[in-house]
Symmetry: C2
Subunit: 471 residues, 2 copies
């Protein structure tokens, strides 16, 4: 126990409202998990609503060498906010007071607790858009998105969270308030601390404000659903479309297991005998996307698509996307535990990755469902299992390890958009090598010598191995 | 002198061809300057053509603690490649052997000496594009572009060099070869070392290979030239266009001084009585840009443009761009010395920045010409002077300092695309503050404790002040 009565008294002195310091067992329990694995109870939870309060908390943690774990709405799929070494959780979800659109400069300035979808909605009112769209966007906070560098389907055309961050206000490990970047898209004044901090999962600094880049909102969008008898043809269709000079805003894939799961769950009338469905969205000028959609349809048919269905109106468009949206709720009906991975590969390797995933599924006799952002190679192999079955969980652990190995062997990466957290840290050296990992660690040590900022994340502990267990 | 006979012998042992070690006085002189200010002769120049050779050179420099300055074609406008503390220049311009387009993955893999424009040309053959287009693209190497995070007119719509770098091979200060990032657009495996190294001006690591992201090449483009009696209306036109949901590929501005200079130089028939010209390029689907160009023209007229001329064909388009291209050659006809700045401001501040630049011009009685990438607030105030006139140079120094102060006061940055180098390091603390600068410096110290990688750049020396002098 590092959070002594003395520390609690000091924290109370910093928070303008003492109710924003939580210490009851029930409260602490509700901060002990996220959307991934593991149960780790904090010793206290603070809910700051200003930079001053945040810096004050950090200075106390620095003085007493107490672990600090920043947290938004806890939707992390990699263990990002879990207090694995105890200490204080800093819950930013109440601090949603700032959401300013500066229309002329095409920027938004936000406090860390703002819900991500609210930023896009606010931008829409000015004819602008905030593109990053993780599937949790209606629940997750921008602070969490920044910490994990969240992605989403639109990543294909528009990039990820990091591509939209121009500047940050941060609190350093010793409680200093520093601004990085600014309000301009072009900025080469020294090292790019902004892009270093985004995606660093709360281990380098705590983000208290972000300046985000907005872009003009596309005027229109069109969606089609393409059916493939062979999944390898879906891979060829992706290459064909991108090679023809068209950049869709989304290219999502569902494999046969996903299709069957959705169909059993919701009876949408999806054909359960196809190996893959591609959902392709184009956005932009209405005249342009209409003509482009014809070329997309032709390209898909040329590589052997069974059929191409273009949505005729917004209602039909919503229906087509319904299939993709229902994958996650559908698969947890099969078994209660879902391990959602985001191993990402160069898009040319999509067919080979599907082959390897099939082999892994058979080898370990697991229920593996694959869907995701095929256009940028960011697949989501999801293992459906039951954590109460330790023998099955052991097979799942080995399967996950094989999935990571396959991704890296194919020139890909452990994580496309979920982050490393606690879930993937044992595999870091496999991807980065000893020297690459040492370069990262040297930055961590330089910035946070006492290791109080989200300790136990990203970097593997000595001899750590991958285990899926709660509590 | 740190490069002793002993060191030279070892360097000769590393380079497969001894002719790629240059030590003659004439050779060393030709490496003593770039396109900015200052004359600094290296003690030796190495021209590696492989990672092994580069790592070998670095290990010798590490052993003997010799400064290493990586260099491409020396087009830097900020002093990036200058060996201000002597030592060895590593000239990468011969190492242009690798330029591989992996069409299906939409990537290019390049060695550091490849000319930037050659990458785009190679991509074009596959219907793809490498968007960054610094005006030096036909001369400068990708290695230099990566070191300085080069921009260009297309930055408005497409971003800068950093936005197109997926992975790097680097040599660290102690001679280790490390790979960062990879081939995928989405990658959140640990800290983003790739984006930290791009733009670090050779001070953190030496880049030996880069994996670049390509995008589908837009099918068509259209250009218009818009004349404004009042420069403030040009600023309003930029906001109006961007606010209407249109994202031009380029929005370039020329102020009256630039127009007069070009007209005196080349007699293109430009009206010398207007305060500003905007050149706007749209790219994308032919049907879309045709309709959008009408809206651009209407938007410009609504805010008071004198006239809008849309190029009818590629020939006329090239003629319109000729005006912008001739600014640099035109202004050096006025006086021999050109100080090219790249102070960048939020685009809403463009009219105010123009007001301030006018006041600075009058205060210091200097010849100031302003043009640049107005769409993203990245202006190029150029001071035309004569370095043989020390009294005038003193006024120029004060004017430059005032330009930087104005940019920062308006929420902007010292450098949008040229880098800090030796030219702007004295102003770093003004923008970043002591704590922000200390965070950057701590990374430098962690990665390069002997300070051998491009020393004297980015970080101000104790008590350093801004001076413009050669030799």
């Amino acid at each position: 126990m590092k959070v002594t009565e003395d520390v609690l008294a000091k924290l109370r002195g910093i928070l303008a409202d003492p109710d924003r310091l939580l210490t009851s067992d029930a409260d602490l329990y509700s901060y002990s998990f996220d959307a991934s694995f593991g149960l780790h109870k904090p010793e206290a939870v603070c809910q700051p609503v200003s930079t001053e309060e945040t810096a004050g908390i950090v200075r106390i943690a620095d003085e007493y060498e107490i672990p600090l774990c920043p947290r938004g709405r806890g939707t992390s799929l990699s263990g990002g906010p879990l207090p694995v070494q105890g200490g204080i959780v800093i819950d930013f979800s109440l601090w949603n007071s700032k959401l300013v659109i500066e229309e002329e400069d095409l920027i938004a300035i936000v406090s860390p607790g703002v819900i991500t979808a609210d930023i896009n909605n606010a931008a829409n009112e000015f004819g602008l858009m905030y593109p990053p769209d993780p599937s949790s966007a209606h629940v997750s906070t921008i602070g969490g998105n920044l910490a994990e560098n969240a992605g989403g389907p639109r990543g294909l055309k528009y990039g990820v969270t990091k591509d939209y961050v121009l500047g940050l206000e941060i609190v350093t490990a010793d409680g200093k308030v520093v601004r990085t970047g600014g309000k301009t898209v072009k900025n080469v004044t020294g090292y790019d601390l902004t892009k270093l901090i985004v995606g660093s999962e709360g281990t380098l600094a705590i983000i208290t404000e972000a300046t985000l880049r907005l872009i003009p909102k596309p005027q229109a969008s069109l969606t089609c659903m393409v059916l493939f008898d062979e999944i390898v043809d879906a891979g060829r269709a992706i290459s064909k479309v991108l090679g023809s000079g068209i950049m869709p805003s989304k290219m999502e894939i569902m494999d046969q297991s996903s299709i069957i799961a959705v169909e059993e769950y919701a009876s949408l009338g999806l054909p359960v005998d196809v190996e893959a469905i591609l959902l392709i969205e184009l956005d932009g000028h209405p005249l342009a996307i209409e003509e482009e959609m014809q070329r997309v349809a032709e390209a898909c048919k040329e590589v052997g698509a069974r059929s191409v269905q273009v949505a005729k109106d917004k209602k039909e468009e919503a229906e087509l996307w319904q299939a993709r949206k229902l994958v996650s709720p559908a698969i947890v009906k099969i078994k209660p535990t879902k391990i959602s991975e985001d191993a990402t590969i160069p898009r040319s390797q999509i067919p080979e990755m599907f082959r390897r995933l099939k082999a892994i599924k058979e080898k370990y006799k697991i229920h593996l469902v694959v869907f995701g952002h095929a256009g940028d190679g960011n697949l989501h192999p999801n293992i459906i299992t039951d954590q109460r079955d330790p023998e099955e969980m052991r097979r799942v652990e080995l399967a996950v390890e094989d999935i990571f190995k396959a991704a890296i062997e194919l020139g890909g990466t452990l994580s496309g958009e979920h982050g490393i957290g606690t879930m993937k840290s044992p595999f870091m050296e496999m991807e980065l090598g000893k020297d690459g990992l040492a370069l990262m660690k040297s930055i961590k040590t330089a910035w946070d010598p006492k290791n109080i900022l989200n300790p136990g994340k990203i970097f593997p502990e000595e001899g750590e191995r991958f285990e899926l267990r709660n509590g």
